[in-house]
């Protein structure tokens, strides 16, 4: 009913869910310096999500702010891509997931920073800087793990093989995208984005001495609320305190 709202929800939820997943690592990272790095990235992503969800709430015009959207929607109302909700797994899964998303996000935000919707362009431009650091960090780790030890290589390859099926969804485009292109002048060329992304990914995968998976059937559904069973459990933890005190301030 409100395509721009849906669109912003998708972007905000991507970063909220991914940021939350990363924050699960705090205090449990493999290296202290990496604990700090992951926390930094989580912080950035949740910040981006905050801005995007706030914008979404304004566009929706029903009085829902970022917290209301983050803490009081059920799983079926979330619009994140499936890639970001998959559990952290080991450090390889986390880093490969991060890299696949960062490469997409940098390209997307770069395009959006030039779109004609001022509010979104501003958020995109501001977030882009940080995303570029994220991308550098995650691609370096994919290379380190792929071209590290035999064990890290195997874990990285396994991660890539299991996550690849979620990457198609990032570049899907549907009626919502068509509508925002028409109504809000947010026109992303998804095929071009996908192509650029694939080039970036192939390069890092190659430097990491990993093998690009052959396209299995892609898993999709997140953009329409058809999530995996993981999201509900993640949200139970995320929302329990807020939901236990409806109407309270923190």
């Amino acid at each position: 009913a409100n395509p721009l709202f849906e669109y912003l929800l998708r972007m905000g939820d991507d970063r909220l869910v991914l940021g939350h997943r990363l924050s699960e690592w705090c205090g449990h990272g493999p290296i202290l310096e990496e604990d700090i790095a992951l926390s930094n990235i989580a912080l950035d992503l949740i910040g981006h999500a905050s801005s995007l969800l706030a914008l979404a709430g304004e566009v929706e015009g029903q009085g829902r702010d970022a917290d209301k959207l983050a803490y009081f929607r059920d799983a079926v109302a979330f619009r994140n891509a499936l890639l970001v909700e998959v559990p952290n797994g080991d450090f390889a899964v986390t880093m490969v997931r991060q890299f696949l998303f960062d490469a997409y996000s940098v390209l997307l935000l770069d395009a959006l920073s030039r779109c004609e919707h001022e509010g979104l362009a501003a958020v995109a431009a501001k977030s882009l800087k940080e995303d570029k650091y994220h991308l550098r960090h995650s691609s370096e780790w994919v290379v380190r793990l792929g071209d590290g030890t035999a064990e890290s290589h195997e874990r990285a390859q396994k991660a890539l093989d299991s996550l690849w099926r979620y990457t198609g969804e990032l570049f899907d485009h549907d009626a919502v995208d068509d509508a925002v292109a028409a109504e809000a002048f947010i026109a992303i060329d998804h095929d071009a984005l996908h192509s650029l992304w694939l080039t970036m990914v192939k390069d890092v995968v190659h430097r990491a001495t990993l093998t690009l998976p052959t396209d299995p059937a892609m898993r999709r559904g997140g953009r329409r609320g058809f999530h995996t069973e993981s999201l509900g459990h993640m949200l139970a933890t995320m929302q329990i305190v807020a939901r236990s005190h409806p109407g309270a301030s923190w």
């Binding site: 202290l32 803490y71 071209d147 590290g148 305190v241």
Partner: protein, 323 residues
């Protein structure tokens, strides 16, 4: 690390010169001569402090995924991240004393190293996040403000940096408590209950009365320690009780009373048996804290190995390229 090794024979002239510098308020730097016992005491204090920062990430990290607003979620992640940074910074400081960081980490994981007792208490509600910032960072600041004038340069400077961030954390913690105390009846009850759990343990953070503390005399002489445990504890109580009153929180101490003559908030007897149990490893969370650090370390082994292997490959490639 021995608490009370036999005093090694130090050159009396060097020792005298050293103690004169201390008395004059000078800063001892890494390249200066120092008695072996001084080096050992500093190493012990600094490593305990670093371990405390690292272990201290866990009780608060426990609530990151449940933080009830995006702003609080971000603040908490940032706080825990700061603690990791403090730990790193102090580990680097211990390296100036000639101690290997990996040895220190091993001592921690083996259960041989100490860290602040307060982190052996579990965090059981969101309100603990406010109370910890307010009371635990608050107590740490009282300790550290004084340490900022400690005789060992690297430690003193680390304290200045860390205190700045911890003052911010303390204010944020107090703010969380203030919002809860002015919130719904459930929120009020939540913060009072959390305060009740952390009050006495935070008083214990200053350590037992100095008469019971083996290291105090020596540390005071060397201006590593500048005030007694009891003095610091009293300062903390005097700061904190009015803060509690201001937001309607009751201190769970029936013997608490303001002494107009001294200006002190007099408080009741501390049950030190709990403290000593926790020190012995029998606190509520001692095992869980160590298990968590051990698991992170063990699970991360292959990652560290990969980073090392990759770095070596890179080095080999650039040598080959250069050749």
């Amino acid at each position: 690390m021995d608490q009370n090794p036999p005093v090694p024979t130090e050159d009396p002239a060097l020792l005298a010169a050293f103690e004169a510098r201390i008395a004059a308020g000078e800063s001892i730097e890494p390249k200066d001569w120092m008695p072996e016992r001084y080096r050992k005491q500093l190493t012990r204090m600094m490593s305990q402090h670093a371990h405390s920062e690292i272990v201290g990430m866990l009780p608060e990290g426990n609530w990151i995924t449940r933080a009830p607003s995006l702003r609080r979620k971000m603040s908490l992640i940032a706080k825990v991240q700061d603690e990791a940074g403090h730990g790193l910074y102090i580990y680097c400081g211990t390296e100036t004393l000639g101690v290997d960081r990996h040895e220190l980490v091993e001592a921690l994981l083996d259960g041989r190293a100490k860290y602040s007792s307060i982190f052996n208490y579990p965090t059981l509600s969101w309100a603990d996040m406010g109370v910890i910032g307010w009371l635990v960072d608050g107590a740490a600041i009282v300790n550290q403000t004084v340490l900022a004038k400690a005789s060992y340069g690297p430690y003193a400077r680390a304290m200045v940096r860390i205190c700045k961030e911890e003052n911010f954390h303390k204010r944020q913690g107090y703010e969380i408590c203030s919002v809860l105390a002015n919130g719904t009846p459930e929120q009020k009850a939540m913060v009072q209950e959390a305060f009740n759990r952390f009050w006495w343990p935070s008083l214990m953070m200053f350590g037992p009365s100095d008469t019971d503390s083996p290291n105090s005399a020596e540390l005071l002489k060397w201006r590593v320690k500048r005030k007694t445990n009891d003095e610091l504890r009293q300062r903390f109580v005097n700061l904190t009780v009015p803060q509690a009153i201001a937001i309607g929180i009751t201190v769970p101490d029936p013997d608490m009373a303001f002494d107009a003559d001294t200006g002190n908030w007099e408080f009741g007897e501390i049950d030190w048996s709990e403290f000593f149990e926790v020190l012995k490893g029998n606190g509520p969370c001692n095992r869980e804290r160590l298990d968590a650090r051990r698991k992170a370390h063990a699970d991360g082994e292959w990652v560290r190995a990969a980073a090392t292997a990759h770095a070596e490959k890179q080095k080999a490639r650039s040598s080959t390229a250069a050749a």
